[in-house]
Symmetry: C2
Subunit: 77 residues, 2 copies
DNA sequence: ATGTGACTTGGAGTCCGTT
DNA sequence: AAACGGACTCCAAGTCACA
């Protein structure tokens, strides 16, 4: 299933941005008003996250939500 | 609820891109492997769409999924 | 060709833990 | 601090009939 790769890609991007900000999953969860264990599973690409939660995490990381869907290097898709 | 505005914004963006391509909701649904009425409700901002479906629609419209989260004018968020 | 209300069900999302 | 599991609630997914 190629679909799962999208989720893994997204999760990696979140983790990357979170770590560069020196935040724990717990702290990010608070900021995004989401659960601690949920953030973890999202970063591992186990969850098919919905749009409002994408937006919440983006807000917590202080980036545009569109930026969470870009790969690290900014290449296509 | 400010959260719903995100969904409306997203739906408008999809509709915009679909219409500039001269596609019907029905045709877009086929291309994205989704249901006709589902596409409709997404465009109206009634659905909190998840990441894999965002990706499917993006593929069908031949754009990067990150582009579906940008406003028409390309401004912040 | 699209809007809409209603419906079932699988999974999103939470909460309790242990490792 | 993070991964992971079980049990739970509730909402997104997906479909339909009809306007």
């Amino acid at each position: 299933m190629d679909e799962r790769a999208v989720l893994v890609e997204f999760g990696c991007r979140v983790r990357e941005l979170r770590e560069t900000r020196g935040l724990s999953q717990e702290r990010l969860a608070e900021l995004a008003h989401l659960h601690r264990t949920y953030i973890g599973s999202v970063e591992r690409g186990e969850r098919n996250i919905s749009l409002v939660n994408i937006h919440r995490i983006a807000r917590a990381l202080d980036v545009a939500s569109s930026e969470l869907l870009m790969k690290s290097d900014g290449s296509k898709n």
